[in-house]
Protein backbone atom coordinates (compact mmCIF):
# COMPACT_ATOMS: atom_id res chain seq x y z
CA UNK A 1 0.00 0.00 0.00
CA UNK A 2 2.70 2.45 1.00
CA UNK A 3 4.69 1.68 -2.15
CA UNK A 4 1.68 2.82 -4.14
CA UNK A 5 1.42 6.09 -2.18
CA UNK A 6 5.13 6.61 -2.67
CA UNK A 7 4.81 6.02 -6.39
CA UNK A 8 2.00 8.59 -6.53
CA UNK A 9 3.75 11.29 -4.47
CA UNK A 10 7.06 10.76 -6.27
CA UNK A 11 5.36 10.93 -9.65
CA UNK A 12 3.64 14.14 -8.57
CA UNK A 13 7.02 15.57 -7.54
CA UNK A 14 8.54 14.59 -10.87
CA UNK A 15 5.55 16.11 -12.67
CA UNK A 16 6.16 19.40 -10.87
CA UNK A 17 9.77 19.24 -12.01
CA UNK A 18 8.62 18.63 -15.56
CA UNK A 19 6.15 21.52 -15.50
CA UNK A 20 8.88 23.86 -14.25
CA UNK A 21 11.08 22.77 -17.15
CA UNK A 22 8.28 23.45 -19.62
CA UNK A 23 7.46 26.86 -18.26
CA UNK A 24 11.09 27.88 -18.29
CA UNK A 25 11.97 26.48 -21.70
CA UNK A 26 8.79 26.52 -23.77
CA UNK A 27 10.49 26.15 -27.18
CA UNK A 28 9.73 22.45 -27.47
CA UNK A 29 6.07 23.00 -26.65
CA UNK A 30 5.72 25.85 -29.11
CA UNK A 31 7.21 23.68 -31.85
CA UNK A 32 4.98 20.76 -30.95
CA UNK A 33 1.90 22.99 -31.25
CA UNK A 34 3.12 25.17 -34.10
CA UNK A 35 4.10 22.49 -36.62
CA UNK A 36 0.66 20.80 -36.80
CA UNK A 37 -1.05 24.20 -36.92
CA UNK A 38 1.05 25.07 -39.97
CA UNK A 39 0.22 21.71 -41.56
CA UNK A 40 -3.46 22.44 -40.94
CA UNK A 41 -3.20 25.75 -42.76
CA UNK A 42 -1.22 24.16 -45.61
CA UNK A 43 -3.64 21.32 -46.10
CA UNK A 44 -6.72 23.49 -45.93
CA UNK A 45 -5.56 26.48 -48.00
CA UNK A 46 -3.07 24.90 -50.41
CA UNK A 47 -4.62 21.50 -50.99
CA UNK A 48 -8.06 21.81 -49.43
CA UNK A 49 -9.90 23.25 -52.40
CA UNK A 50 -8.69 20.62 -54.81
CA UNK A 51 -9.00 17.66 -52.47
CA UNK A 52 -12.36 18.82 -51.20
CA UNK A 53 -13.98 19.08 -54.61
CA UNK A 54 -12.09 16.03 -55.94
CA UNK A 55 -13.38 13.79 -53.21
CA UNK A 56 -16.77 15.48 -53.15
CA UNK A 57 -19.44 13.18 -51.71
CA UNK A 58 -17.02 10.70 -50.14
CA UNK A 59 -16.02 13.32 -47.57
CA UNK A 60 -19.43 12.85 -46.07
CA UNK A 61 -20.45 16.51 -46.13
CA UNK A 62 -22.88 17.99 -48.59
CA UNK A 63 -21.07 21.30 -48.98
CA UNK A 64 -17.94 19.97 -50.74
CA UNK A 65 -14.82 22.00 -51.42
CA UNK A 66 -12.57 23.65 -48.88
CA UNK A 67 -15.23 24.08 -46.19
CA UNK A 68 -15.95 20.34 -46.13
CA UNK A 69 -12.28 19.50 -46.15
CA UNK A 70 -11.63 21.47 -42.94
CA UNK A 71 -14.09 19.28 -41.11
CA UNK A 72 -12.55 16.18 -42.64
CA UNK A 73 -8.91 16.93 -41.92
CA UNK A 74 -9.05 18.25 -38.33
CA UNK A 75 -9.03 14.83 -36.59
CA UNK A 76 -5.95 13.82 -38.59
CA UNK A 77 -4.18 17.05 -37.74
CA UNK A 78 -5.10 16.65 -34.07
CA UNK A 79 -3.45 13.24 -34.07
CA UNK A 80 -0.47 14.70 -35.82
CA UNK A 81 -0.28 17.05 -32.83
CA UNK A 82 -0.23 14.03 -30.55
CA UNK A 83 2.65 12.64 -32.60
CA UNK A 84 4.72 15.84 -32.67
CA UNK A 85 4.22 16.28 -28.93
CA UNK A 86 5.27 12.71 -28.32
CA UNK A 87 8.36 13.37 -30.36
CA UNK A 88 9.21 16.39 -28.24
CA UNK A 89 8.73 14.16 -25.19
CA UNK A 90 11.20 11.71 -26.66
CA UNK A 91 13.70 14.53 -27.09
CA UNK A 92 13.30 15.71 -23.53
CA UNK A 93 13.47 12.17 -22.11
CA UNK A 94 16.58 11.35 -24.13
CA UNK A 95 18.22 14.61 -23.05
CA UNK A 96 17.12 14.31 -19.44
CA UNK A 97 18.44 10.79 -19.00
CA UNK A 98 21.94 11.89 -19.94
CA UNK A 99 21.97 14.49 -17.16
CA UNK A 100 23.57 13.90 -13.82
CA UNK A 101 20.44 14.58 -11.83
CA UNK A 102 18.79 11.43 -13.18
CA UNK A 103 21.84 9.47 -12.05
CA UNK A 104 21.23 11.02 -8.65
CA UNK A 105 17.59 9.86 -8.73
CA UNK A 106 18.82 6.34 -9.36
CA UNK A 107 20.76 6.41 -6.10
CA UNK A 108 17.75 7.60 -4.10
CA UNK A 109 15.07 5.56 -2.41
CA UNK A 110 12.26 6.81 -4.61
CA UNK A 111 9.72 5.02 -6.75
CA UNK A 112 12.01 4.20 -9.67
CA UNK A 113 9.60 4.63 -12.52
CA UNK A 114 8.47 8.04 -11.23
CA UNK A 115 11.10 9.77 -13.38
CA UNK A 116 9.33 8.38 -16.43
CA UNK A 117 5.83 8.90 -15.07
CA UNK A 118 6.69 12.54 -14.51
CA UNK A 119 7.63 12.85 -18.17
CA UNK A 120 4.48 11.08 -19.36
CA UNK A 121 2.13 13.14 -17.20
CA UNK A 122 3.89 16.35 -18.16
CA UNK A 123 3.63 15.36 -21.78
CA UNK A 124 -0.08 14.61 -21.36
CA UNK A 125 -0.71 18.13 -20.11
CA UNK A 126 1.49 19.65 -22.79
CA UNK A 127 -0.21 17.68 -25.55
CA UNK A 128 -3.68 18.68 -24.38
CA UNK A 129 -2.60 22.33 -24.45
CA UNK A 130 -1.17 21.94 -27.94
CA UNK A 131 -4.34 20.24 -29.13
CA UNK A 132 -6.43 23.06 -27.70
CA UNK A 133 -4.30 25.51 -29.62
CA UNK A 134 -4.60 23.58 -32.89
CA UNK A 135 -8.35 23.17 -32.40
CA UNK A 136 -8.61 26.91 -31.77
CA UNK A 137 -6.88 27.60 -35.08
CA UNK A 138 -9.20 25.09 -36.78
CA UNK A 139 -12.27 26.83 -35.37
CA UNK A 140 -10.97 30.15 -36.67
CA UNK A 141 -10.64 28.86 -40.22
CA UNK A 142 -14.08 27.35 -40.36
CA UNK A 143 -14.07 24.02 -38.52
CA UNK A 144 -17.67 23.28 -37.52
CA UNK A 145 -17.90 20.44 -35.04
CA UNK A 146 -21.36 19.13 -34.25
CA UNK A 147 -20.42 17.47 -30.97
CA UNK A 148 -22.48 18.16 -27.87
CA UNK A 149 -21.03 18.27 -24.35
CA UNK A 150 -21.00 14.47 -24.09
CA UNK A 151 -19.25 14.31 -27.45
CA UNK A 152 -16.57 16.77 -26.36
CA UNK A 153 -15.98 14.82 -23.15
CA UNK A 154 -15.59 11.74 -25.31
CA UNK A 155 -13.10 13.57 -27.51
CA UNK A 156 -11.02 14.59 -24.50
CA UNK A 157 -11.14 11.06 -23.11
CA UNK A 158 -10.14 9.44 -26.39
CA UNK A 159 -7.33 11.93 -26.95
CA UNK A 160 -6.00 11.44 -23.42
CA UNK A 161 -6.05 7.69 -23.94
CA UNK A 162 -4.22 7.92 -27.27
CA UNK A 163 -1.68 10.44 -25.96
CA UNK A 164 -0.97 8.30 -22.92
CA UNK A 165 -0.30 5.28 -25.13
CA UNK A 166 1.80 7.04 -27.76
CA UNK A 167 3.81 8.88 -25.08
CA UNK A 168 4.75 5.71 -23.21
CA UNK A 169 5.88 4.24 -26.52
CA UNK A 170 7.99 7.33 -27.25
CA UNK A 171 9.51 7.29 -23.78
CA UNK A 172 10.70 3.76 -24.50
CA UNK A 173 11.94 4.75 -27.96
CA UNK A 174 13.90 7.59 -26.37
CA UNK A 175 15.86 5.06 -24.33
CA UNK A 176 16.65 2.59 -27.09
CA UNK A 177 20.00 4.21 -27.83
CA UNK A 178 22.33 6.39 -25.79
CA UNK A 179 22.46 8.89 -28.58
CA UNK A 180 20.10 11.83 -28.12
CA UNK A 181 19.89 12.67 -31.83
CA UNK A 182 18.99 9.11 -32.79
CA UNK A 183 16.56 8.70 -29.94
CA UNK A 184 14.70 11.85 -30.80
CA UNK A 185 14.25 10.80 -34.43
CA UNK A 186 12.97 7.30 -33.75
CA UNK A 187 9.36 8.48 -33.17
CA UNK A 188 9.36 10.16 -36.60
CA UNK A 189 7.17 7.46 -38.26
CA UNK A 190 4.40 8.39 -35.83
CA UNK A 191 4.16 11.74 -37.63
CA UNK A 192 3.59 9.95 -40.92
CA UNK A 193 1.03 7.42 -39.71
CA UNK A 194 -1.98 9.81 -39.62
CA UNK A 195 -1.21 10.66 -43.26
CA UNK A 196 -1.10 7.05 -44.42
CA UNK A 197 -4.39 6.41 -42.70
CA UNK A 198 -7.72 8.13 -43.07
CA UNK A 199 -6.26 11.41 -41.76
CA UNK A 200 -6.02 13.42 -44.96
CA UNK A 201 -8.16 11.48 -47.42
CA UNK A 202 -10.53 8.54 -47.14
CA UNK A 203 -8.70 5.23 -47.48
CA UNK A 204 -10.83 4.06 -50.41
CA UNK A 205 -9.10 6.60 -52.66
CA UNK A 206 -5.78 4.79 -52.11
CA UNK A 207 -4.21 1.93 -54.13
CA UNK A 208 -5.17 -1.49 -52.76
CA UNK A 209 -1.87 -2.32 -51.01
CA UNK A 210 -1.77 1.02 -49.23
CA UNK A 211 -5.45 0.85 -48.37
CA UNK A 212 -4.85 -2.49 -46.69
CA UNK A 213 -2.13 -0.95 -44.50
CA UNK A 214 -4.14 2.21 -43.86
CA UNK A 215 -7.15 0.31 -42.67
CA UNK A 216 -5.29 -1.91 -40.26
CA UNK A 217 -2.90 0.57 -38.69
CA UNK A 218 -3.95 2.02 -35.29
CA UNK A 219 -4.25 5.64 -36.39
CA UNK A 220 -7.20 4.92 -38.66
CA UNK A 221 -9.53 3.77 -35.85
CA UNK A 222 -8.18 6.64 -33.72
CA UNK A 223 -9.08 9.12 -36.45
CA UNK A 224 -12.44 7.54 -37.26
CA UNK A 225 -13.46 7.58 -33.59
CA UNK A 226 -12.50 11.23 -33.22
CA UNK A 227 -14.16 12.20 -36.48
CA UNK A 228 -17.33 10.46 -35.40
CA UNK A 229 -17.38 12.19 -32.02
CA UNK A 230 -16.59 15.61 -33.51
CA UNK A 231 -18.64 15.69 -36.69
CA UNK A 232 -21.10 12.84 -36.34
CA UNK A 233 -19.76 10.47 -38.99
CA UNK A 234 -20.36 6.75 -38.30
CA UNK A 235 -17.90 5.26 -35.80
CA UNK A 236 -18.71 1.56 -36.12
CA UNK A 237 -16.19 -0.72 -34.44
CA UNK A 238 -13.46 1.96 -34.57
CA UNK A 239 -14.01 2.86 -30.91
CA UNK A 240 -13.43 -0.69 -29.71
CA UNK A 241 -10.39 -1.02 -31.96
CA UNK A 242 -9.02 2.29 -30.68
CA UNK A 243 -9.40 1.22 -27.06
CA UNK A 244 -7.75 -2.11 -27.84
CA UNK A 245 -4.82 -0.51 -29.66
CA UNK A 246 -4.34 2.03 -26.86
CA UNK A 247 -4.35 -0.62 -24.16
CA UNK A 248 -1.82 -2.71 -26.07
CA UNK A 249 0.48 0.21 -26.91
CA UNK A 250 0.33 1.60 -23.36
CA UNK A 251 1.14 -1.73 -21.77
CA UNK A 252 3.87 -2.56 -24.27
CA UNK A 253 5.38 0.94 -24.11
CA UNK A 254 5.28 1.03 -20.31
CA UNK A 255 6.89 -2.37 -19.82
CA UNK A 256 9.50 -1.69 -22.48
CA UNK A 257 10.30 1.74 -21.04
CA UNK A 258 10.59 0.36 -17.54
CA UNK A 259 12.92 -2.38 -18.67
CA UNK A 260 15.12 0.02 -20.58
CA UNK A 261 15.26 2.40 -17.62
CA UNK A 262 16.29 -0.39 -15.28
CA UNK A 263 19.17 -1.40 -17.49
CA UNK A 264 22.55 -0.71 -15.97
CA UNK A 265 23.43 2.83 -17.03
CA UNK A 266 26.51 2.89 -19.19
CA UNK A 267 27.44 6.54 -18.92
Amino acid sequence: MSTVTHAVTDSATMLRRQLRHMLRYPVLILTAAGVPAIFLLLFVYVLGGAIGSGLGGSLGGSAGGRAAYVNYVVPGIVLMTVATSAQSTAISVATDLTTGVVTRFRTMAIARVSVLTGHVLGSLIQTMLSISFVTGVALLIGFEPTADLGGWLGVVGVLAMITFAVTWLCVALAMVTDNVATASNLPMPLMILPMVGSGLVPTDSMPAWLRWFAEYQPFTPFIETLRGLLTGTPIGDSAILAVGWCAAITLGGYLWARRLYNREPTG
Binding site: T13, R24, G100, V101, R104, T107, A109
Partner: protein
Protein backbone atom coordinates in the same frame (compact mmCIF):
# COMPACT_ATOMS: atom_id res chain seq x y z
CA UNK B 1 21.16 2.75 13.78
CA UNK B 2 23.38 4.52 16.29
CA UNK B 3 23.80 1.26 18.18
CA UNK B 4 25.66 -0.27 15.26
CA UNK B 5 28.90 1.58 15.78
CA UNK B 6 30.92 -1.62 15.65
CA UNK B 7 29.36 -2.76 12.45
CA UNK B 8 31.25 -1.46 9.44
CA UNK B 9 29.30 1.20 7.58
CA UNK B 10 30.75 0.01 4.31
CA UNK B 11 32.16 -3.43 3.66
CA UNK B 12 33.34 -4.98 0.45
CA UNK B 13 34.66 -8.48 0.00
CA UNK B 14 36.44 -9.73 -3.10
CA UNK B 15 34.58 -7.34 -5.36
CA UNK B 16 35.19 -7.74 -9.07
CA UNK B 17 33.91 -5.70 -11.97
CA UNK B 18 34.85 -5.99 -15.61
CA UNK B 19 33.67 -4.28 -18.77
CA UNK B 20 34.11 -6.83 -21.51
CA UNK B 21 37.57 -8.27 -20.94
CA UNK B 22 38.79 -5.10 -19.26
CA UNK B 23 38.93 -5.91 -15.54
CA UNK B 24 38.31 -2.61 -13.78
CA UNK B 25 38.18 -3.83 -10.18
CA UNK B 26 39.88 -7.05 -9.25
CA UNK B 27 39.26 -8.45 -5.78
CA UNK B 28 38.64 -5.33 -3.71
CA UNK B 29 38.22 -5.63 0.07
CA UNK B 30 37.11 -2.62 2.08
CA UNK B 31 36.06 -2.19 5.66
CA UNK B 32 35.02 1.27 6.78
CA UNK B 33 33.98 1.75 10.40
CA UNK B 34 30.94 3.94 11.04
CA UNK B 35 31.76 7.57 11.76
CA UNK B 36 35.07 7.62 9.93
CA UNK B 37 36.43 9.13 6.75
CA UNK B 38 37.92 6.77 4.24
CA UNK B 39 39.83 7.96 1.20
CA UNK B 40 40.16 5.94 -1.95
CA UNK B 41 43.19 7.27 -3.67
CA UNK B 42 44.10 6.54 -7.23
CA UNK B 43 45.15 7.97 -10.57
CA UNK B 44 42.84 8.41 -13.58
CA UNK B 45 41.19 5.20 -14.66
CA UNK B 46 42.13 3.24 -11.56
CA UNK B 47 38.49 2.39 -10.83
CA UNK B 48 37.52 4.93 -8.14
CA UNK B 49 34.28 5.99 -9.81
CA UNK B 50 33.44 2.39 -10.59
CA UNK B 51 33.77 1.56 -6.89
CA UNK B 52 31.47 4.44 -5.94
CA UNK B 53 28.94 3.41 -8.58
CA UNK B 54 28.93 -0.13 -7.26
CA UNK B 55 28.41 1.00 -3.68
CA UNK B 56 25.67 3.45 -4.63
CA UNK B 57 23.65 0.73 -6.44
CA UNK B 58 24.14 2.24 -9.89
CA UNK B 59 25.89 -0.80 -11.29
CA UNK B 60 26.24 -4.41 -10.19
CA UNK B 61 29.40 -6.24 -9.28
CA UNK B 62 30.35 -9.33 -11.27
CA UNK B 63 31.44 -11.08 -8.10
CA UNK B 64 31.93 -10.41 -4.41
CA UNK B 65 29.81 -8.90 -1.66
CA UNK B 66 29.05 -5.28 -0.92
CA UNK B 67 27.32 -4.14 2.23
CA UNK B 68 26.39 -0.56 3.06
CA UNK B 69 24.81 0.48 6.36
CA UNK B 70 24.18 -3.16 7.15
CA UNK B 71 22.37 -3.95 3.90
CA UNK B 72 23.44 -6.06 1.00
CA UNK B 73 23.75 -3.86 -2.06
CA UNK B 74 22.58 -6.50 -4.52
CA UNK B 75 19.67 -7.86 -2.48
CA UNK B 76 18.33 -4.74 -0.74
CA UNK B 77 19.22 -1.83 -3.02
CA UNK B 78 16.36 0.30 -1.73
CA UNK B 79 17.46 -0.04 1.89
CA UNK B 80 20.95 0.99 0.80
CA UNK B 81 19.59 3.94 -1.18
CA UNK B 82 17.67 5.12 1.87
CA UNK B 83 20.88 5.23 3.90
CA UNK B 84 23.28 6.81 1.45
CA UNK B 85 23.95 10.15 -0.16
CA UNK B 86 26.02 10.36 -3.32
CA UNK B 87 27.89 13.26 -4.83
CA UNK B 88 29.26 11.90 -8.03
CA UNK B 89 32.27 13.03 -9.99
CA UNK B 90 30.10 14.96 -12.43
CA UNK B 91 27.50 17.43 -11.31
CA UNK B 92 24.17 15.82 -10.48
CA UNK B 93 21.97 18.89 -10.25
CA UNK B 94 19.05 19.82 -12.46
CA UNK B 95 20.51 22.63 -14.53
CA UNK B 96 17.12 23.92 -15.62
CA UNK B 97 15.99 24.50 -12.04
CA UNK B 98 17.23 27.12 -9.61
CA UNK B 99 19.37 26.21 -6.64
CA UNK B 100 16.43 26.51 -4.28
CA UNK B 101 14.21 24.44 -6.57
CA UNK B 102 16.85 21.74 -6.75
CA UNK B 103 16.99 21.52 -2.97
CA UNK B 104 13.21 21.57 -2.70
CA UNK B 105 13.05 18.74 -5.23
CA UNK B 106 15.32 16.74 -2.95
CA UNK B 107 13.21 17.62 0.10
CA UNK B 108 10.10 16.40 -1.74
CA UNK B 109 11.73 13.19 -2.94
CA UNK B 110 13.09 12.49 0.53
CA UNK B 111 9.54 13.01 1.77
CA UNK B 112 10.55 15.31 4.60
CA UNK B 113 7.63 16.41 6.74
CA UNK B 114 5.91 19.14 4.76
CA UNK B 115 6.53 21.91 7.26
CA UNK B 116 10.25 21.20 7.40
CA UNK B 117 10.92 21.31 3.68
CA UNK B 118 11.26 25.08 3.25
CA UNK B 119 13.26 25.38 6.45
CA UNK B 120 15.64 22.62 5.40
CA UNK B 121 16.17 24.32 2.03
CA UNK B 122 16.81 27.69 3.67
CA UNK B 123 19.30 26.18 6.12
CA UNK B 124 21.28 24.44 3.42
CA UNK B 125 21.37 27.54 1.21
CA UNK B 126 22.75 29.43 4.18
CA UNK B 127 25.29 26.81 5.15
CA UNK B 128 26.62 26.44 1.61
CA UNK B 129 26.74 30.17 0.90
CA UNK B 130 24.18 29.93 -1.87
CA UNK B 131 21.57 32.35 -0.54
CA UNK B 132 22.32 35.00 -3.15
CA UNK B 133 22.22 32.53 -6.01
CA UNK B 134 19.21 30.62 -4.71
CA UNK B 135 16.82 32.03 -7.30
CA UNK B 136 19.10 31.67 -10.30
CA UNK B 137 19.07 28.65 -12.62
CA UNK B 138 21.85 26.19 -11.77
CA UNK B 139 23.04 26.46 -15.38
CA UNK B 140 24.43 29.88 -14.45
CA UNK B 141 26.44 28.63 -11.47
CA UNK B 142 30.23 28.47 -11.38
CA UNK B 143 31.97 25.13 -10.89
CA UNK B 144 32.48 25.77 -7.20
CA UNK B 145 28.86 26.79 -6.65
CA UNK B 146 27.65 23.69 -8.50
CA UNK B 147 29.83 21.50 -6.33
CA UNK B 148 28.40 23.08 -3.18
CA UNK B 149 24.83 22.77 -4.45
CA UNK B 150 25.54 19.16 -5.36
CA UNK B 151 26.71 18.35 -1.87
CA UNK B 152 23.86 20.30 -0.29
CA UNK B 153 21.41 18.20 -2.32
CA UNK B 154 23.10 15.06 -1.09
CA UNK B 155 22.61 16.16 2.51
CA UNK B 156 18.88 16.88 2.30
CA UNK B 157 18.02 13.27 3.10
CA UNK B 158 20.34 13.21 6.12
CA UNK B 159 22.28 10.21 4.83
CA UNK B 160 24.26 8.07 7.30
CA UNK B 161 26.81 7.10 4.68
CA UNK B 162 28.08 9.57 2.11
CA UNK B 163 30.04 8.84 -1.05
CA UNK B 164 31.98 11.74 -2.50
CA UNK B 165 33.64 11.11 -5.85
CA UNK B 166 36.47 13.63 -6.24
CA UNK B 167 34.67 16.32 -4.26
CA UNK B 168 37.30 19.01 -4.79
CA UNK B 169 38.55 18.36 -8.31
CA UNK B 170 38.41 21.62 -10.22
CA UNK B 171 37.99 23.82 -7.15
CA UNK B 172 40.30 26.71 -6.35
CA UNK B 173 42.36 26.46 -3.16
CA UNK B 174 39.90 28.49 -1.11
CA UNK B 175 36.84 26.53 -2.24
CA UNK B 176 38.79 23.36 -1.67
CA UNK B 177 39.46 24.30 1.90
CA UNK B 178 35.81 25.27 2.41
CA UNK B 179 34.84 21.84 1.12
CA UNK B 180 37.28 20.20 3.53
CA UNK B 181 35.79 22.12 6.44
CA UNK B 182 32.31 21.01 5.43
CA UNK B 183 33.39 17.39 5.19
CA UNK B 184 35.09 17.51 8.60
CA UNK B 185 32.02 19.17 10.05
CA UNK B 186 29.77 16.40 8.77
CA UNK B 187 31.81 13.75 10.51
CA UNK B 188 32.31 15.69 13.72
CA UNK B 189 28.76 17.02 14.14
CA UNK B 190 26.62 14.34 12.63
CA UNK B 191 28.79 11.26 12.89
CA UNK B 192 28.26 10.23 9.29
CA UNK B 193 30.58 7.85 7.50
CA UNK B 194 32.30 9.20 4.43
CA UNK B 195 33.99 7.43 1.58
CA UNK B 196 35.71 9.90 -0.67
CA UNK B 197 37.83 9.40 -3.73
CA UNK B 198 40.60 11.71 -4.68
CA UNK B 199 43.65 12.07 -6.86
CA UNK B 200 45.16 14.51 -4.40
CA UNK B 201 47.42 12.95 -1.88
CA UNK B 202 47.36 15.93 0.46
CA UNK B 203 43.57 15.79 0.45
CA UNK B 204 43.52 12.19 1.63
CA UNK B 205 46.19 13.10 4.19
CA UNK B 206 44.11 16.05 5.43
CA UNK B 207 40.75 14.36 5.67
CA UNK B 208 40.98 10.64 6.01
CA UNK B 209 41.26 8.37 9.00
CA UNK B 210 42.25 5.61 6.65
CA UNK B 211 43.43 5.54 3.08
CA UNK B 212 43.36 2.84 0.45
CA UNK B 213 45.50 3.19 -2.63
CA UNK B 214 43.84 1.89 -5.75
CA UNK B 215 46.03 1.12 -8.71
CA UNK B 216 45.01 -0.71 -11.85
CA UNK B 217 41.97 -2.21 -10.18
CA UNK B 218 43.72 -3.52 -7.09
CA UNK B 219 44.23 -2.09 -3.62
CA UNK B 220 47.99 -1.81 -3.34
CA UNK B 221 47.99 -0.45 0.21
CA UNK B 222 45.63 0.36 3.06
CA UNK B 223 46.29 2.13 6.31
CA UNK B 224 46.32 5.40 8.18
CA UNK B 225 48.19 8.24 6.50
CA UNK B 226 50.99 7.80 9.02
CA UNK B 227 51.25 4.07 8.44
CA UNK B 228 51.54 4.63 4.74
CA UNK B 229 54.19 7.28 5.17
CA UNK B 230 56.17 5.03 7.47
CA UNK B 231 56.36 2.45 4.71
CA UNK B 232 58.38 4.85 2.65
CA UNK B 233 61.05 5.92 5.11
CA UNK B 234 62.84 9.26 5.44
CA UNK B 235 62.86 12.29 3.23
CA UNK B 236 65.49 13.65 0.90
CA UNK B 237 66.80 16.82 -0.63
CA UNK B 238 66.90 17.41 -4.35
CA UNK B 239 69.59 19.61 -5.89
CA UNK B 240 69.49 20.86 -9.43
CA UNK B 241 72.59 22.14 -11.19
CA UNK B 242 72.95 24.50 -14.10
CA UNK B 243 75.37 22.44 -16.12
CA UNK B 244 77.05 19.11 -16.55
CA UNK B 245 80.28 20.19 -14.89
CA UNK B 246 78.76 21.30 -11.60
CA UNK B 247 76.55 18.26 -11.63
CA UNK B 248 79.39 15.79 -12.08
CA UNK B 249 81.50 17.57 -9.51
CA UNK B 250 78.73 17.50 -6.91
CA UNK B 251 77.99 13.86 -7.65
CA UNK B 252 81.55 13.08 -6.66
CA UNK B 253 81.46 15.12 -3.46
CA UNK B 254 78.07 14.30 -1.95
CA UNK B 255 76.49 11.05 -0.77
CA UNK B 256 73.99 10.70 -3.56
CA UNK B 257 70.86 8.59 -3.11
CA UNK B 258 69.73 8.82 -6.69
CA UNK B 259 70.62 10.88 -9.75
CA UNK B 260 69.05 12.09 -12.93
CA UNK B 261 71.71 12.69 -15.57
CA UNK B 262 69.33 14.31 -18.02
CA UNK B 263 67.92 16.90 -15.63
CA UNK B 264 71.18 17.42 -13.71
CA UNK B 265 69.45 16.64 -10.42
CA UNK B 266 70.82 14.75 -7.45
CA UNK B 267 68.99 13.49 -4.40
CA UNK B 268 70.72 13.27 -1.07
CA UNK B 269 69.29 11.83 2.14
CA UNK B 270 68.15 14.31 4.75
CA UNK B 271 65.24 15.97 6.49
CA UNK B 272 64.13 19.55 6.11
CA UNK B 273 65.44 20.71 9.49
CA UNK B 274 67.60 23.83 9.63
CA UNK B 275 70.69 22.14 11.05
CA UNK B 276 71.09 19.50 8.35
CA UNK B 277 70.22 22.04 5.66
CA UNK B 278 72.92 24.40 6.93
CA UNK B 279 75.42 21.55 6.97
CA UNK B 280 74.57 20.72 3.40
CA UNK B 281 74.80 24.33 2.27
CA UNK B 282 78.18 24.65 3.97
CA UNK B 283 79.50 21.66 2.09
CA UNK B 284 78.21 23.05 -1.19
CA UNK B 285 79.90 26.39 -0.43
CA UNK B 286 83.21 24.77 0.43
CA UNK B 287 83.18 22.87 -2.81
CA UNK B 288 82.18 26.08 -4.64
CA UNK B 289 79.17 24.41 -6.17
CA UNK B 290 76.51 26.68 -7.65
CA UNK B 291 73.12 25.09 -7.09
CA UNK B 292 70.29 26.27 -9.34
CA UNK B 293 67.50 24.95 -7.15
CA UNK B 294 67.17 23.15 -3.86
CA UNK B 295 64.09 21.28 -2.81
CA UNK B 296 63.34 19.70 0.51
CA UNK B 297 61.18 16.64 0.37
CA UNK B 298 59.47 15.37 3.49
CA UNK B 299 57.83 12.01 2.91
CA UNK B 300 54.25 12.37 1.75
CA UNK B 301 51.77 10.20 -0.05
CA UNK B 302 53.50 10.76 -3.35
CA UNK B 303 56.33 8.69 -2.01
CA UNK B 304 53.86 6.09 -0.89
CA UNK B 305 52.56 5.96 -4.38
CA UNK B 306 55.98 5.81 -5.87
CA UNK B 307 57.09 3.11 -3.50
CA UNK B 308 53.97 1.03 -4.08
CA UNK B 309 53.50 1.35 -7.79
CA UNK B 310 56.76 2.58 -9.20
CA UNK B 311 54.93 5.53 -10.71
CA UNK B 312 54.79 9.07 -9.47
CA UNK B 313 51.28 10.45 -9.48
CA UNK B 314 49.67 13.82 -9.14
CA UNK B 315 51.67 16.76 -7.86
CA UNK B 316 55.37 16.93 -8.75
CA UNK B 317 57.67 15.35 -6.24
CA UNK B 318 58.70 17.67 -3.46
CA UNK B 319 58.20 21.31 -2.79
CA UNK B 320 60.73 24.05 -3.25
CA UNK B 321 62.15 25.55 -0.09
CA UNK B 322 60.93 29.01 -0.90
CA UNK B 323 57.32 27.99 -1.21
CA UNK B 324 57.12 25.12 1.20
CA UNK B 325 55.98 27.31 4.09
CA UNK B 326 53.33 29.04 2.07
CA UNK B 327 52.04 25.73 0.78
CA UNK B 328 51.67 24.17 4.19
CA UNK B 329 48.04 23.37 4.81
CA UNK B 330 46.68 24.47 8.18
CA UNK B 331 46.94 21.66 10.68
CA UNK B 332 43.83 19.66 11.33
Amino acid sequence: MTANHRQPAVAATAVRKAYGDHVVLDGIDLDIPAGSVFALLGPNGSGKTTMVRLLSTLIRADAGDLRVAGHDVAREPDAVRAAIGVTGQFSAVDHLLTGAENLLLMADLNRLPRKERRRCVAELLERFELVDAAGKPASTYSGGMLRRLDLAMTLVGRPRVIFLDEPTTGLDPRSRRTMWEIIRGLVADEGVTILLTTQYLDEADQLADRIAVLYQGKLVATGTPEELKRQVGGGHITLRFADQRGYEHAAGVLEVVSRNDAAFTLQVAGQGDVRSLRALLDRLDRASLAVEELRVHTPDLDDVFFALTGNPVGTPLGKSVSSSVAEQEPAR
